[in-house]
């Protein structure tokens, strides 16, 4: 045992360059795995924090009685409870204010806003606690201890009461929106004591909105949690309509986790596969070059098992040394990079304002990575170990690196340096091939992704929101808002917000060159699918003959024949989920068109499915749409093109117009482009980083092969020099060998790599990833890869060249005697 261990250690010392290379490969593998794992942990943590910003409640049960709350309190599935009671409305001019009684029944619920930042909760009858804006709105300085007079109506009805309160606590709140929002649209709330609520509202009239968390968040998926919530509601007798789920949080908590885990598992698998291949190849090469050595050991009486253990000991020794470094690097890279990336992302995304310190360290991830690396090393050693064990003692006596069946070589009449290189590679063609394949594989991987990443065009992404022109002024409408029907498109269209006069006023803005209208109208149907369920409505718009080509490019099914569509009410469906909705080409759907307060029915026929984007699910030919003779103007979008020199001025003017009407939303090209650039680089650069590391691992392999090839040929190189190979010829020979590797690798990456790249692109396109739509050939990446390969190649050659020069020629010959 110790003999094997000592032998392993001395072999590691002796084959220094191989040891270092293997160590680097293993370290990089660990770095990659740890980096991916840590990043995932960080991203999940960000998501979790974002979700927490909206509160970690699972659901709210509205209007529960005191008894129902008691039942909830004792329910086995309920983890945390918090109650809110609308105690009174505030009577103060036009202020939309209210007072609530808030109580934590069972701890565990957090909110992003409304947390106590100063003072304490209201306990006495005359105490009040609220956000600064509440007190400011009434005209009292928000300082603890200040007195405030408030008139209020308990329960929102009946007599107005006036009382004096003392401010006892300040609650956190959202930043007040920067733009002007009419005062009536902002609700101001403050909380009062239980004592006060008890004094004004009789027990049997109490009605609590109850936030709850159920047990099992960590093990249940979204649907299962929803089921638990519904069952709990039924148990306490809460009506289904009174359940409000915190879907965003639930999805974030459950599905995001599993999705992220799936992505991470996928990436890790690729990394493991790849680095396994490289480590395998390094050992493979070392076994076939060590044949003589192994033969000697066997001749001395080493058993197969001992030989295997020798290799295993070597592999694990290196790992013990390399893995900790990899873990540290793998943790530190995301530790520093992720907050920076996230900060950049914040600029485009306004979901959450601030993220606390990220927690990225996870012991399970660490353990998993370590296990994965050791398993990878073990698996990649299996075959080389078997090969080594099979070496026969006779091999020790022969001086070839392995006994090959080849006896003859056709050869050439004349020998030159290039033929010398080629002969060496042919002689060791297994080693050559394995190296080329692993190198090629990493480049193929690179090219595959490069095509797709290169197709993430900023302009394409910006055009997703602004189809044409420089600005888009759009109506922020709903289709199915039951509580606030005034938000729905049919009602909004009656307000005629995009009147001719309005459009004219936009055209009057200095710098505006043109305005295109695009309209849409709500439709409902009895057709049975998820879209139309429960009176669901979708929007219908139009397309023109000139657009046909574009829709044909992205077509998934069916066929576009404009004239036949005009005559047969044919429509294009713009969703990839057409099969799920049962809306296959040929299906005729009876629809009800909601034209303001007027409704009529018609039949449309699905002719084609082309998910090219846009807000409207169905598109009629323009002629047919116009024939509908809608009474109300159905414009929902204005596409505004302008003189680029006046961009800023026009933007200011349009921003003012958009801010004046709550239903308007303005998209501007510069912002969309900036967001596009940001999202592209957020994906692109981390991907390139991973790819670069993968490439480096692959490169280790080439370095190993070339160094091995020189070390094992030391004697031969000496003999070659003795018969007159000059230094420049030696360099030429090494360059020649490297060039063949490079050429093979390049050939593989531009052929197979680009082919795979295109397939990956098609896949990405069909899943709608990053709104990729056009294939952009990765020119820069291809050139970059070529240059990097050639430079790397030259670097290795000169490194090896340098090493050979350091040893005097005579030593290389002497080691043969």
């Amino acid at each position: 045992m110790t003999t094997i261990k000592n032998l392993a250690i001395s072999r590691l010392r002796f084959n220094k360059s191989r040891t270092i290379l293997t160590a680097i490969a293993i370290m990089l593998t660990t770095t990659l795995l740890m980096g991916v794992g840590t990043s995932a942990e960080g991203i999940l943590n960000i998501n979790r924090q974002q979700a927490l910003f909206n509160g970690n409640t699972h659901a709210m049960f509205k209007s529960l009685t005191q008894e129902q709350v008691k039942k909830l309190q004792n329910h086995k599935d309920v983890e945390s409870i918090e109650i809110n009671e609308l105690f009174a409305t505030v009577e103060y001019g036009k202020m939309n204010g209210f007072l609530v009684f808030h109580d934590v029944v069972k701890e565990g619920i957090y909110h992003g806003v409304g947390n106590l930042i100063e003072g304490h909760e209201a306990q006495k009858m005359d105490e009040i606690c609220g956000p600064k804006s509440f007190f400011e709105r009434i005209g009292v300085e928000p300082v603890i201890g200040n007195k405030i007079h408030i008139s209020f109506r308990p329960g929102g009805k009946g007599r107005i009461e006036t009382r004096e309160f003392t401010i006892c606590g300040i609650l956190s709140e959202n930043d007040v929106p920067g733009f002007d929002v009419s005062d009536t649209r902002i609700a101001y709330g403050a909380s009062v004591s239980e004592a006060l609520a008890n004094a004004y509202i009789p027990d049997k009239e109490r009605s609590y909105n109850t936030n709850i968390r159920v047990v099992g968040e960590n093990r249940l998926n979204c649907d299962e949690i929803e089921k638990v919530i519904n069952e709990t509601a039924a148990d306490v007798g809460c009506d289904k309509v009174n359940i409000i789920l915190n879907r965003e949080y639930l999805i974030m908590q459950t599905e995001m986790g599993t999705e992220t885990k799936a992505v991470v598992a996928g990436i890790s698998l690729i990394i493991i596969l790849f680095s396994g291949l490289v480590i395998y190849s390094i050992y493979y090469v070392s076994v076939i070059t060590d044949v003589q050595e192994i033969g000697k050991l066997k001749a001395l009486g080493a058993s197969d098992r001992q030989i295997k253990r020798l290799f295993l000991t070597e592999g694990f020794r290196i790992s013990f040394f390399a893995v900790p470094f990899g873990l540290v690097f793998g943790y530190l890279i995301p530790y520093f990079a992720l907050p920076v990336i996230f900060k950049e992302a914040m600029k485009v995304n306004t979901v959450a304002d601030e993220v606390d310190r990220l927690h990225m360290f996870s012991a399970p991830v660490l353990a998993l990575v370590v296990a994965a690396v050791f398993v990878t090393v073990y698996l990649s050693l299996i075959r080389p170990m078997k090969m080594a064990a099979k070496v026969s003692p006779v091999e020790a006596i022969r001086y070839q690196e392995s006994s090959r069946r080849r006896k003859m070589r056709k050869g050439n009449k004349n020998v030159n340096v290039f033929r010398l290189s080629a002969a060496n590679l042919v002689q060791n063609r297994r080693r050559t091939l394995v190296t080329m394949l692993t190198m090629g594989f990493s480049c193929v991987l690179f090219m595959s992704l490069a095509g797709t990443m290169n197709s993430m065009s900023t302009l394409d992404m910006a055009r997703r929101n602004i189809k044409e022109g420089d600005f888009r002024l759009t109506l922020d409408y709903a289709c199915n808002d039951k509580e606030y029907p005034e938000n729905n498109l049919d009602q909004l269209s009656m307000r005629n917000l995009f009147s001719d006069a309005f459009v004219e006023s936009i055209l009057q803005i200095d710098g505006v060159q043109g305005v295109e209208r695009e309209g849409g109208v709500l439709i409902g149907s009895d057709f049975s699918n998820e879209l139309f369920e429960d009176g669901g409505r979708i929007s219908l718009s139009w397309f023109e003959r000139e657009d046909v080509k574009e829709y044909e490019d992205g077509m998934k099914a069916g066929k576009i024949d404009y004239d036949s569509m005009v005559s047969g009410n044919g429509v294009i469906l713009t969703t990839v989920f057409y099969e799920m909705y049962g809306m296959l080409p040929g299906t005729v759907i009876p629809v009800t068109v909601y034209d303001g307060d007027r409704q009529f029915t018609m039949d449309v026929r699905i002719d084609a499915v082309s998910p090219v984007g846009g807000d409207h699910l169905l598109l009629l030919p323009r002629e047919v749409y116009e024939r509908l003779n809608l009474q109300y103007d159905s414009t929902v979008d204005l596409y505004i093109s302008i003189d680029q020199n006046k961009y800023e001025e026009v933007k200011d003017a349009l921003t003012e117009i958009a801010d004046a009407e709550a239903y308007f939303r303005l998209y501007s090209m510069d912002e969309e482009m900036a967001m596009g650039r940001m999202s592209v680089s957020l994906i692109k650069y981390p991907m390139y980083l991973v790819l670069a590391l993968v490439a480096v691992i692959g490169f280790m392999n080439l370095v190993n092969t070339m160094i091995t090839s020189v070390i094992t040929r030391k004697r031969e190189l000496g003999v070659l020099q003795a018969v007159g190979l000059s230094e420049s010829q030696l360099t030429k020979m090494l360059v020649g060998e490297g060039a063949i590797f490079t050429a093979g690798t390049l050939a593989a990456s531009v052929t197979i790599g680009n082919l795979f790249g295109y397939l990956v692109f098609l896949k990405a396109k069909s899943t709608g990833f990053m709104s990729i739509s056009r294939y952009h050939y990765p020119v820069v990446e291809t050139i970059g890869l070529t240059v990097a390969l050639i430079l790397g190649q030259i670097a290795i050659t000169y490194f090896i060249r340098h090493r050979i020069r350091k040893e005097s020629l005579i030593d290389t010959i002497r080691c043969s005697e």
């Binding site: 022969r398 001086y399 070839q400 690196e401 006994s403 090959r404 080849r406 006896k407 003859m408 070589r409 056709k410 050869g411 050439n412 009449k413 004349n414 020998v415 030159n416 340096v417 033929r419 010398l420 002969a423 060496n424 042919v426 002689q427 060791n428 004697r715 031969e716 003999v719 070659l720 020099q721 003795a722 018969v723 007159g724 190979l725 000059s726 230094e727 420049s728 010829q729 005097s808 020629l809 005579i810 010959i813 002497r814 043969s816 005697e817």
Partner: protein, 222 residues
């Protein structure tokens, strides 16, 4: 007759102080063109070192080596390489051949490295002389030890060098084969008018030489 190889106060020392090894110590030597010289001496006496210095494979600690009237210390590395492939042929004890090249390619290697066209008739002639005409396409690992040494000899004379330096060329061979190889070496040297310097342990071989040099502790004693 012309002096083809000459050394002047040639020294090669290894190590320093107590560990100083005088592998070659003030050697003065003249070898004439066409001469067959054998070098004998105990193991470790400095024979190989001397041979390597003569062939410009190693740099002397002091002293000079003159090849064909030129001091090789004045040569650049490139010129030295050229001199080796044009003027000098080496045969070592073992591992003489490039394993990925066949017999023919190994033999024509120095010519090829010189960028010259191979004189096929001449090479065929050598191979015939050395009894390798049937082995042209064989890779070295399929040859017997004697065949490998014969191939090395063929290579040493294929570039028509004026000097052939051989370091125990028969050390790995049985006596019969060894004698045969030396006979062939001598024969071809005669045939092509070459100077031959052979290190050997073998008395018989030493006897075949025109002159025998005996080395002891880096010094010529006879």
């Amino acid at each position: 007759m012309k002096t083809i190889l000459e050394t002047k106060e040639l020294c090669k020392y290894y190590g320093s102080d107590e560990n100083l090894v005088k592998a070659v110590d003030h050697v003065n030597l003249k070898i004439m063109q066409g001469e067959f010289v054998s070098i004998v001496g105990k193991s470790g006496s400095g024979k190989s070192t001397l041979l390597h210095l003569l062939g410009g494979l190693d740099n002397p600690t002091s002293g000079e080596v003159w090849v064909d009237g030129k001091n090789i210390a004045d040569f650049s590395k490139e010129q030295l390489a050229v001199t080796r492939r044009r003027q000098i042929g080496f045969v070592f004890q073992a591992f003489n051949l490039v394993s990925s090249l066949n017999v023919w390619e190994n033999v024509v290697l120095p010519v090829g490295l010189d960028g010259k066209k191979v004189d096929e008739g001449f090479v065929k002639d050598i191979l015939r002389t050395l009894g390798l005409e049937k082995k042209e396409k064989n890779l070295p690992n399929t040859l017997s030890g004697g065949q490998q040494q014969r191939t090395a000899i063929a290579r040493a004379i294929a570039a028509k060098p004026s000097i052939v330096l051989a370091d125990e060329p028969t050390g790995n061979l049985d006596t019969g084969t060894g004698d045969e190889v030396i006979a062939l070496l001598k024969l071809s040297a005669k045939k092509y008018g070459q100077t031959l310097v052979v290190i050997t342990h073998n008395e018989d071989i030493a006897q075949m030489a025109d002159r025998t040099i005996v080395i002891e502790d880096g010094k010529i004693v006879m």
